[in-house]
């Protein structure tokens, strides 16, 4: 790729959607509930586990304003990821508090609620497993009695009982490594709570049904998943469903799955009217597809010199009542917990466990955030156990060029090492935050590393060139606030076509107009949709150059595109506007369009290392180094963040200012996870934090400006060498805060979040070592035996 093509794509382009967002004119899905739209409301379970004995909607159906009521009979199908275990409505069995049982559509929301309250429901309570320890107990009741009968959508994983899915890594002989006489064995357990995304726009959908087709307007990151899962749930052909996506008011992974859409669709079909279903904040809190709570044991065999000769880890991920995203996320452990460091041998078991709680889901750097916390705290414990400085330990062990990942893939390039040096330089520039002599707080500082990976997957793009010289980019990408659709994509396309990014019209996602896409998440958009868009742009570029060559009587190789014109190379003003060329083509061969497609090229893992994984190796590794200073109040347990620094591997920064904004925002979400956002499941399986009063999001006073350095130049298959930049900033915040607080208070930390009561408890109590009796120190016991 020549510099003349690459450079024009790099700029601090401001977002085109900011102006209307600032004036309150942007219409998110919640703003599409126009007069005449029916309001839907879900009758949800108020117990965690029960058998449904009787459900009668007759009376409710006759209530004022009620237009339809849907129940399990209207949605016979099962959907899911990996396994189809999820019915739309609880049918015979209720598996979590909050599970939908019926859906009502009425003229007003109050009428729908009144009717839902009038639905007659008789249930017989069943014993519930609220915690993973309960669900894994030998005598625990099965949450899915007939788990064997579910349709398997991806073969190869072990499942059994309340273990919904198990992904395993087995590389090398850890038993031999742990048996070596020259190693120290470090064994640590960790436990983290859930995190609610709290996107400001809740999950919301408006559906219609006309001429035998559904039109679902929804706040989602994954229009195609919505299309396909809705089809499964309703048992209709996917081609009957059209999904369009208005601007999304925050998502962070919550909207990476289908959730409310099929309910609205079913009601739209029943009523023939537009039906809106919008989660209340309380529903959004209690049934959020949270970042899952997890329990982790890591054991490492490490030599005096700090070589990690063996690592065994088990990660239990609470998937709640249905598998959902956690099934897929079991794959990530190999690369997050199994990342960062060179390992002589590795065994990792990553299990999604059913419990009678609200299903969990994907959340920005899902799985990575807590695995990085566990890994980095474990790393500090290793360094302490062998008497090595934690930074020295990291410098020696971080993955570099030619090193093996946990599943045996070979990494390219030295990235983490140089990034650690950059962080050291940043620290050296800014001396530690000064403290007043009478400051009684406890101070701590930590630097951590993190590994994320971008799984690219399929994307497609179409570009139409218009006679005014503008281009229309048609993809299934969604603007969720990260700026990809309004910044990096138009920048990439514009640079390729020699026009201004402002002249690239970006069409909102519409599954009837654009081809398949895996969805906006995981940091894949710029890479995958970017690559598909580049391919589409190349097609139209070729047509323009070819036509211009004829018009200008010049060889195509001697032409260049720029400033909206085709020019003979080096001779300004020699050519013509692109608009002219397009007009010419219109008249001669017809409109100018190009399409492009992309999918992951597939990186090799070592044969036989990975079992039950959706992907065995990392398409694009992304690394991050974080550093922070904290001050802890010894009398109240409050943690003040004094400074925060990030060195992030971005491949290539197309819009550095926008990436900085993503990093600031991602770090603050991470601070919420580390310090404020406590989401606990009560003894009856209901989430205790039902709104903003008890779920504390960081406010302006709780944050600091993040000092940022972007690390460019690491290898990437992304267009122009890009990597996604929005997902990663949250990755090692929990880790960095925990390591820093641990050093400040001089006690090991094994749990997040570190709310003031928990920190004070830590300060006042004796140092404790967390133990998970339900995760065996004998690794093999934490796996499902492979049947011969």
């Amino acid at each position: 790729m020549t510099a003349s093509i690459a450079n024009p794509a790099v700029m601090n382009l401001a977002r085109r959607d900011a102006r209307d967002k600032l004036r309150g004119r942007t219409r998110y899905t919640i703003d599409h509930v126009t007069p005449g739209t029916l309001h839907a409301f879900l009758l949800r379970s108020e117990v965690p586990a029960a058998r449904i004995l009787r459900l009668d909607v007759t009376k409710a159906r006759a209530m004022p304003g009620v237009r339809a009521i849907a129940t399990a009979a209207d949605a016979p199908g099962f959907f899911g990821i990996g396994i189809a275990d999820h019915p739309l409505f609880a049918k015979d069995v209720i598996r979590y508090d909050g599970e939908p049982i019926a859906a009502v559509a009425a003229e007003t929301l109050q009428q729908a609620q009144a009717a839902a309250a009038a639905i007659e429901l008789e249930i017989a309570p069943l014993p519930a497993s609220i915690t993973m320890a309960q669900a894994l107990a030998p005598d625990a009741p099965l949450i899915h009695e007939n788990w064997r009968d579910y349709e398997i959508l991806l073969e190869g994983a072990a499942r059994g009982g309340n273990v919904a899915w198990e992904a395993k890594v087995m590389r090398g002989d850890t038993e031999a490594a742990f048996a070596r006489p020259d190693v120290t064995i470090i064994d640590s357990c960790f436990s983290v709570g859930r995190q609610n995304h709290v996107p400001f726009e809740p999950r919301a959908v408006v559906a219609t049904y006309e001429d035998g087709r559904f039109h679902i307007k929804t706040s989602t990151q994954v229009p195609w998943t919505v299309r396909n899962a809705t089809a499964r749930a309703l048992d209709v052909p996917a081609s009957q469903i059209r999904v369009t996506v208005p601007p999304v008011g925050g998502a962070f992974g919550l909207k990476f799955d289908c959730s409310l859409e099929p309910f609205a669709a079913v009601l739209a079909r029943k009523t023939g009217r537009a039906v809106a279903l919008v989660n209340s904040r309380r529903e959004e809190m209690l049934t959020c597809l949270c970042r899952e709570n997890a329990e982790i044991r890591i054991r490492s065999a490490v030599t005096k010199e700090g070589e990690i000769v063996g690592r065994e880890a088990t990660v239990l991920m609470d998937c709640g009542a249905y598998g959902g995203e956690q099934i897929f996320l079991t794959t990530m452990t190999a690369h997050t917990l199994g990342g960062n460091y060179k390992l002589g041998s590795a065994r990792i078991s990553s299990r999604a466990v059913y419990t009678n709680t609200a299903p969990n889901g994907a959340f920005r750097a899902c799985n990575g955030v807590y695995n990085t916390f566990a890994l980095e705290r474990h790393t500090d414990e290793i360094a302490e156990a062998i008497g090595m400085h934690p930074m020295e330990f990291r410098r020696r062990n971080v993955i570099g060029d030619g090193d093996l990942g946990s599943t045996g893939q070979v990494f390219e390039g030295d990235v983490l090492g140089p990034m650690l040096e950059k962080m050291a330089a940043l620290q050296a520039k800014a001396p530690a935050t000064p403290r007043a002599p009478d400051d009684r707080r406890l101070f701590g500082r930590a630097t951590t590393v993190g590994t994320w990976f971008i799984f690219v997957g399929p994307s497609s793009a179409t570009i139409n060139l218009n006679t005014d010289g503008s281009a229309t980019l048609i993809t299934s990408g969604v603007e969720i606030g990260s700026g990809t659709m309004v910044q990096s994509l138009p920048q990439i396309v514009a640079a390729r076509l020699g026009i201004r990014p402002e002249d690239v019209v970006v069409k909102g996602a519409d599954t009837d107009a654009a081809g398949f896409d895996l969805g906006v998440g995981g940091g894949r958009t710029t890479v995958s949709i970017g690559a598909a868009s580049t391919a589409a742009a190349d097609e139209v570029r070729k047509q323009i150059l070819h036509a211009a060559g004829e018009l200008l009587q010049t060889r195509v190789e001697d032409l260049e595109l720029g400033a909206g014109r085709v020019e003979i190379r080096g001779v300004k003003g020699s050519g013509m506007t692109i608009a002219k060329v397009v007009q010419h083509l219109h008249g001669t061969v017809g409109p100018v369009a190009g399409t492009g497609a992309f999918t992951n090229p597939g990186v090799e893992a070592m044969a036989g290392c990975a079992m039950g994984h959706f992907i065995d190796a990392i398409d694009i590794p992304v690394f991050a180094v974080h550093d922070c200073e904290v001050a802890v109040d010894p009398d109240t347990g409050h943690v003040d963040v004094l400074s925060y620094r990030v060195v992030q591997d971005v491949g290539r920064a197309l819009n550095p200012r926008a990436i900085h904004s993503q990093i600031q925002g991602g770090v603050v979400q991470g601070l919420g996870y580390a310090l404020h956002e406590d989401m606990s499941v009560g003894p009856e399986g209901r989430i205790l934090q039902s709104g903003f009063e008890t779920y504390r999001l960081p406010g302006a006073l709780d944050v600091v400006p993040v000092e940022i350095e972007l690390h460019e130049g690491a290898p990437s298959i992304g267009p122009l060498g890009t990597k996604g930049a929005g997902e990663v900033p949250i990755l090692n915040v929990g880790a960095t805060i925990a390591c820093a607080v641990s050093r400040a208070v001089g006690k090991p930390i094994h749990e997040l979040p570190l709310t003031p009561p928990k920190v004070l408890d830590l300060i006042l109590g004796d140092p404790r070592h967390l133990d998970h009796p339900h995760i065996s120190a004998t690794w093999i016991d934490n796996t499902i035996p492979v049947r011969a």
């Binding site: 102006r19 967002k21 600032l22 309150g24 007069p35 925050g250 606030g481 925002g665 302006a700």
Partner: protein, 155 residues
């Protein structure tokens, strides 16, 4: 019941339950959807409107008690939809992400800046205690606010 409301300089009638939160009247009846009902608890600030110039969470204000006052929603700011200096600074500094919190941020900061055109960083943060943003991490918003007029300021 009929409630006469004065919104963005116009007299508008609302027929309905006077206990309806003002935010729902704005959004559902008057189709002024700029204010967002994000928490309905007074914590997030996304529903903020000006009532007689005072920033007020419209989720906690019943329509029936909103008559007789001058209500300004985000749609009523600026002349004919032009950006105010504050909005312009936020656009220029590219601080918006999902955008859901911004109508409320603007409504909180507008009277704040009118009363205190030259605030410190800490003062801006204090003014935003009731405006939560899930996306941006705040600091760039504050940079943008402090950039208005490009004056030198103490941190």
């Amino acid at each position: 019941m009929t409630v006469m409301l004065r919104i963005n300089g116009e007299e508008r009638a609302f027929y309905g339950d006077p206990m309806t939160p003002l935010v729902d009247v704005l959004r559902e009846t008057l189709l002024l959807t700029g204010a967002k009902a994000v928490c309905r608890e007074g914590f997030c600030g996304a529903c903020t409107v000006l009532i007689d110039g005072v920033p007020t969470p419209s989720c906690l204000k019943p329509a029936g008690l909103s008559g007789g006052a001058e209500i300004t929603s985000i749609e009523g700011l600026g002349i004919e939809g032009e950006l105010t200096a504050l909005q312009q600074a936020l656009e220029d500094n590219d601080v918006v992400q999902c955008g859901m919190c911004f109508p409320g941020m603007v409504m909180t900061l507008t009277p704040f800046l009118a009363a205190k055109p030259d605030p410190t960083r800490e003062e801006v943060k204090q003014a935003l205690v009731g405006n939560i943003c899930r996306c941006t991490g705040y600091e760039r918003i504050i940079d943008a606010v402090l950039s208005i007029g490009n004056k030198e300021r103490t941190p």
